[in-house]
Symmetry: C2
Amino acid sequence: MPKQVDYASRRRRIAEAVCLLADEQGPEGVSMRDVAARAEVSLGAVQRCFRTKEEMLLFAVEHIGERVMERVRARLGASPAQSAATALGHAAEEVALLREDHRTEARIWLVFVARACVSASLAAPLRRSYAALEGLLVRLVTEAAESGPGVGSAMPPHVVREARTLLALTDGLTSHVLVGHLTTEQAEDVLHAHLTGLWERLGVTTAS
Amino acid sequence: MPKQVDYASRRRRIAEAVCLLADEQGPEGVSMRDVAARAEVSLGAVQRCFRTKEEMLLFAVEHIGERVMERVRARLGASPAQSAATALGHAAEEVALLREDHRTEARIWLVFVARACVSASLAAPLRRSYAALEGLLVRLVTEAAESGPGVGSAMPPHVVREARTLLALTDGLTSHVLVGHLTTEQAEDVLHAHLTGLWERLGVTTAS
DNA sequence: CCGTAAGCGATACAGTCGTATCGGAAAAAG
DNA sequence: CTTTTTCCGATACGACTGTATCGCTTACGG
């Protein structure tokens, strides 16, 4: 057999290039040729990794979803114990891709969301990512509620609602920052105020 | 002078076609030829109305922004007096384009937002629309707060923060519905819960 | 009544798109 | 060594893109 190649890593490399291009050139700027050039491979190589462009984008959106999720988990692992409430705060900060160094991921995310409204196949992995994030937030909210004085703890439906509220709020804030309607500071201010209110609602006693 | 034509109305007609196409074909589906066909005019006619495609999209995004804003105002005018709180509720419902008949506008909005992250010229009118919506919400929140028992009324910074929270939340919910992460009912549930909390915070006494 | 200019739609153009194809380089297997 | 199989990058192709150009029609101003 001839030259063997690590397809998995090449696909990842190409997905990275897709994200970079989607970020700096917008949705229309992502052509197979540009992706190939950005990934420093030939057009043929890209075609061998992905039969079609749609397939490539699909892989890229899964890639980004995993990256965000993984970063949130890493942030949680970094500050291990502490209070469940601050953990939730950190997670929310990470999900809302507000800081400049995550702006790229935020733009890519938005590009894919816009595209997914039309292409059902693109929507599926996006839904999976949202579901995973929601699940994580539900877990964190639950833990935060339990750590409080626990008036009996909020009943589950409220918890899910709070998680969804938080997820939608962070997503909205992110896009508002991206279009320039809000500054990063303003968005963080809104997010922190919401979290403070959430803690009060849960009956959490927080130090900071 | 020869034949005179009503450019204003034609531009509006073309903008309408842009929106329809952006909705059903996505961002990539909006080509000059398709727009011309959808608007039932010749390609040349489109070119005479808008020197360039960018210019056409710019007009279309302004058009959509005005339409949404106008609809919110119409809704407020329809239920004139009542309480300031229910007015705020109606406005929020209208801003979050949740109902099926507004789904189209929501998709178009998202397409433009995604594009605006890259093209600065597209971002400008979008920012104006957001600013107008935020202004409206600030006004409604203020009125709702004043109509309450008025412990001294919430101080302005809080009002702005609440308005921004509401705007970001509605935007986030809208996109989550569009990608299918939430159903319309779930999103409405989240929105209503948030509004209830907001009223409590403002000290508003609401009948319903 | 005629010239002039605004509007018309068709066509041309150069470029880019996604995809298909193909001859040759390269490396494991015999 | 030769054979065989996998991968390579270049090129080809047709469709479509945004924009420019160009006669022709049309209707008002003089």
